[in-house]
Symmetry: C2
Subunit: 347 residues, 2 copies
């Protein structure tokens, strides 16, 4: 039911939708998820870099041509879903907004901009109404690590968290995923394979997340995003966060080992019940079958899988728990989260 | 220089050496490392399960036959290096001791037995003299995570550590490694592959360590070993440890993200210098080149690689650091550590 204050919503429904970065890994997921969720679409326009222009992508049984971005590309576009890099977002999102579109951006370009809500709908959908034309989808590792923590934080404030990630190749885009496959295939054939997209050999190997390191903190950009974005999404600038981001030879779905310390005692069973009742999360916590969250199980589904919920044995106070999560970073970590935000924008 | 108290040493040198579990992943490494390090050998005898008996393995240019264990197998054996399971160790190590051998056991059978020293020579070589015939090599994940922590602990006691592991397939033995390769090959060919050795599909997937879960603590056996063995090796029963053990699709070399909290302030540069000066560790910590410890680099070498040494941003007191390590779990995590112990036993 629309409220009186509807200025934050799209100007018409069904909206004309533009996808920027349509040929990328997240772009493909956006097309699937719009279709799966029967998102209303008046017209769909697909944009990508000039080298992808002229390709077509199928949507609802039609082949839609991919266009390069131009100054008038956003004329008539109501909703612009950006899944390109932050450079593209910085350049073109303001153009889209001036043309009257609302932008939902998957890049980091506007995430820490106070005017841009940074939204995981399961956590802070209320922020959506405050936008100024641009809303941001958080970093994929942050979404997957913290969505299951929100029901705990709301009940019993998390004052400290320590996160170690196990991030999939496709978090680095389609080219990184292709490199994992090519490198592994070459390795198994006994051939050499020189890394091109990534800085290190990826076949049966893992490496620290390949984003630049802040010389002051020693943390890479991915880690800094997890820290800063979690504070903004939770609306809690004082939450203390330690994080290590690691790329593992998994195709899809990020995992994370998380230890949290709450203000008060917290019981694993209580945490399990709170997470089980929370939207977007599914408990997979079967010690008898040794079945816990795995990227294979998380791939292609909407829910973040949560398990290994147990006391952190390093904190005798009983305030701390450890858990393990896995979530599809192209879906909940990016495209699904963007479409969920867009659903809140429908008139 | 032999001390007066030499009762803990082997009765002769060169010793006759028996390797139990010679055909396994660690057994093969034992043969390589004995050779690489010119360990004195009077005679080498190889033992394995009856189904491997009759095979031969090369050592110093000779093919040595593999025998099944029998009641008189250890007659004349001075040093028995066990790299079989804990069941085999429990059954046969006492037989070897009764025959006059000193046993260095890679299994968990005797690790928490107060009479059996649990030794990482870089940490507690002094314990070796106390043995009663059996010495234990610690769990591989524990060795790799804590060897680099010892120089810090000695200077500025570590009161809490939180460890997330990234464990290689060969930690589960040669069959687990073969399954990773076969599953990945099948996956890339578009074929199905049913897991046999491991409980979960392993191609481009990861899973919680597949050891039984303690229903009281919710921790698996691997995690419980890291906790209990670290306390015994460090001689510090009060150190508080939280750990999550995860199997990743890496062939060889375990990695771990480690966060430590010390009694007093600790500076990353100070920690780096202490670890750089410690035996068995090598600093790989280049933020400009984004080069940090990786399993690929750790495979086949003796040193544990240590990097990402930085402040834990979740602890404003300055007492906490995070770091990332990678080490060859078949070498330093098992065979090399066993041979290092044996070197201390030479008369």
């Amino acid at each position: 039911m629309p409220t009186q204050d509807t200025a934050y919503r799209l100007r018409q429904s069904p909206p004309t939708i533009g996808i920027v970065g349509a040929t990328g890994a997240v772009g493909g997921e956006l097309l699937s998820i719009l279709s799966e969720r029967d998102f209303p679409v008046r017209e769909l326009r697909l944009f990508a870099s000039p080298r992808s222009a002229g390709k077509t992508l199928p949507f609802h049984g039609h082949d839609i041509g991919v266009e390069a971005l131009r100054g008038d590309s956003f004329n008539g576009v109501d909703l612009a879903l950006f899944s390109a890099g932050s450079g593209t977002a910085r350049e073109w999102a303001p153009v889209a907004v001036r043309a009257g579109a609302i932008v939902v951006d998957n890049s980091s370009a506007f995430r820490m901009n106070p005017a841009a809500p940074l939204v995981v709908p399961e956590i802070n959908a209320a922020e959506i109404v405050r936008h100024d034309g641009i809303l941001s989808v958080p970093n994929c590792a942050a979404i997957i690590a913290i969505t299951p923590l929100w029901p705990l934080h709301r009940r019993n404030r998390i004052r400290r968290m320590i996160v170690s990630t196990y991030q999939a190749a496709s978090g680095g885009g389609a080219a990184a995923l292709a490199e994992l496959i090519a490198a592994t295939r070459a390795h198994l054939a006994g051939d050499s394979h020189a890394p091109r997209v990534l800085p290190h050999p990826y076949a049966f190997n893992l490496f620290s997340h390949d984003t630049p390191i802040d010389p002051t903190t020693g943390h890479n950009d991915e880690e800094t995003k997890v820290i800063n974005e979690t504070r903004k999404i939770f609306g809690d600038p004082d939450i203390r966060i330690g994080v290590t981001c690691v790329c593992v030879p998994v195709q899809r779905a990020h995992s994370a080992a998380v230890t949290i310390e709450c203000e008060r005692r917290i019981d694993p069973d209580e945490a399990r019940a709170l997470i089980a009742a929370a939207p977007g999360c599914r408990i997979v916590d079967d010690p008898i079958a040794n079945h816990f969250p795995m990227p294979n199980d998380a791939t292609g589904i909407d829910d973040i899988l949560v398990g290994r919920i147990r006391r952190d044995l390093s904190d005798p106070s009983g305030h701390s728990l450890s858990l393990f999560v896995a979530g599809d970073q192209l879906r909940k970590g990016a495209a699904l989260n963007a479409v969920q935000i867009a659903e809140h924008l429908l008139p």
